[in-house]
């Protein structure tokens, strides 16, 4: 009887989350006539599509890795670095804002910074004589997108790792001190191993986050950078690939990759929670 209570929720999830997704997943394995096939998946293995997956993966890995490192550094600076306590709350609020500031506005902020007329570009040219263009830097590129993505990756890392850093008990540090460990030994043998599941898990989350991002990419690169979401977007809009079911396959590919990443995240989170009971 109690099950009736969650019926509306279950219905919603089913109709607007599960069914559409399943439709796509199943569609990836269906021929236009309705039979089962692996041809669509096979159709993914063309050079251009593989290239788009590959560049998507590269950007996601790069922005996730850099996001982890810089985010960890900033969170550690605030939680463990002996900075005034008043800095923490504003930083977390700002991280909340920045992690949601994606899409078109973000693209523009970075165009204004590193684009051809961007303030940093101009600054470097007039003050230091460094011409970014000559160095082959172009905002509409792998590095441009990666650096832009960091704007929401770093704050997301800060938001997730700050509670984990809080959970590092002061007594562990003190016990390690008494027992003769140096700071480096404490971090190597105690703190980092404890934090690793969370860090790795957040890396997976950031990866999935970057992989699925569409709006920023479109706004920044038009369609000149062929990452998977952009290709999928074009495909949905106008079947540019000439085979509707290929769209399904591409979407399925995306789900498979982000799904794996998130499974890793969940598994690692469960593991670290068990330790810290």
């Amino acid at each position: 009887m109690a099950w009736l209570g969650i019926l509306p929720f279950a219905l919603f999830i089913l109709m607007f989350l599960v069914a559409p997704t399943l439709n796509i997943v199943i569609g990836a394995f269906r021929t236009p006539e309705g039979g089962f096939t692996l041809a669509n998946i096979a159709g993914l293995f063309t050079p251009s599509i593989m290239a788009s997956y590959w560049i998507s993966i590269k950007i996601s890995v790069a922005s996730a890795a850099l996001g982890c490192i810089v985010g960890f550094g900033m969170a550690a600076a605030v939680v463990l670095g002996g900075l005034p306590r008043g800095i923490r709350a504003p930083l977390l609020t700002f991280s909340g804002v920045a992690s949601n500031f994606a899409g078109v506005p973000l693209a523009f902020a970075f165009l204004a910074t590193m684009g051809p007329l961007g303030i940093v570009t101009v600054f470097l040219r007039t003050e230091f004589g460094i011409n970014l263009r000559a160095y082959g830097f172009n905002i509409l590129s792998f590095w441009g997108l990666t650096i832009t993505y960091l704007f929401f990756q770093i704050p997301l890392m800060i938001l997730i790792i700050t509670p984990a850093l809080d959970a590092l008990k002061r007594e562990w540090r003190e016990a390690a001190d008494c027992l003769g460990a140096t700071t480096a030994q404490y971090w190597r043998m105690v703190a980092l191993p404890i934090l690793t599941p969370t860090i790795m898990g957040t890396f997976a989350l950031l990866f999935a986050n970057a992989f699925g991002a569409v709006a920023t990419a479109i706004a920044l690169t038009g369609s000149s950078l062929n990452i998977v979401p952009i290709m999928l977007f074009a495909q949905i809009r106008g079947d540019v690939l000439g085979n509707p079911h290929l769209g399904y396959a591409m979407a399925f590919g995306m789900i498979a990759i982000t799904g794996c990443a998130n499974l890793i995240y969940i598994g690692l989170r469960m593991r670290s929670e068990r330790w810290l009971k």
Binding site: E171, W172, E174, A176, C178
Partner: protein, 346 residues
Amino acid sequence: MTFLTLSNLEKSFGPTRVVKDFNLDVAAGEFISLLGPSGCGKTTVLRMVAGFEPADAGRIVIDGRDVAGLGPRQRDIGMVFQAYALFPNLTVAQNVGFGLKVKGTPASRIAARVEEMLTLIGLPEMGTRYPYQLSGGQQQRVALARALAPSPKVLLLDEPLSALDAKIRVSLRTQIREIQKQLGITTIFVTHDQEEALSLSDRIVVMNQGIAEQVGTPHEIYNAPRTGFVANFVGTLNTLEVEVLDPATGRIAVGDQQVTLGRPLPQGRITLGLRPEALRPDGAGEALTARVIGMDFLGSVFRLRVSMAGQVLAVDSFTTVGVSPPNIGDMVTLRLNTQAVLILEA
């Protein structure tokens, strides 16, 4: 020659003076308890000895070495925390061997020492377990083994039993004391539980608001408290206002009763301190009568609340099978152990 000397220690947090001119000499192998209520400064003193808090003033000398400029790492001390603080990502064996590993001890020596320590604390089979798989009492024993494995000069314990269940607390404290005696290690034990301090220590330092009120053996602290605070904090204390009739012989009047204490007393109205066991329903000693107004049965002891000359006293006696305690409203005769009477400041 004392092993550990604390001289004129001072510590303030902001405007609050938390430790005021604290002095203590500890002999080698001694078990000293710092006993006091929350906020009395006992943990701060311990942390200054450990090196976690720098002292504002004063000296700390361990085994002839002034440790003023040294961090916890160089002071050669072992510490056990209230929250166990075992490293959750390491096994029991790795935790215990941690202090040896960071110093670069060869693995075989570490393994032998870890086994020795695990046997000492009574958990020889638990080496491969993780802390989250152990009970609170087991974790604290492992924490003790971890602190002792590198053979430190001094062992510091910060309310190690407060987080445990009552039964475990009692059995573990005995175990801690036995291990300490066996190893002969100089130990400072911080607690707010007087029963722990009384049962374990060679000497107790009773602290209140940053100063050491009294230092003495458990017996001295209990039976000869020098200040009202010590008398009240340790054990139960009855107070009795009496009129001194003859200061030379110590004859006093309690209401309309009179007894002689047999020692000189100051003039006028004074306040006496009496432990509940100083008055007995039987035995020898000066006799006083009182009316029973309440009775609490505490198991091995029953505590009478009696009224004498308008004042209420607590009287403890052992429960004896076959002898029923007095009823409420009865008049009882109590024998006073005159040697156990304390004279408190007016």
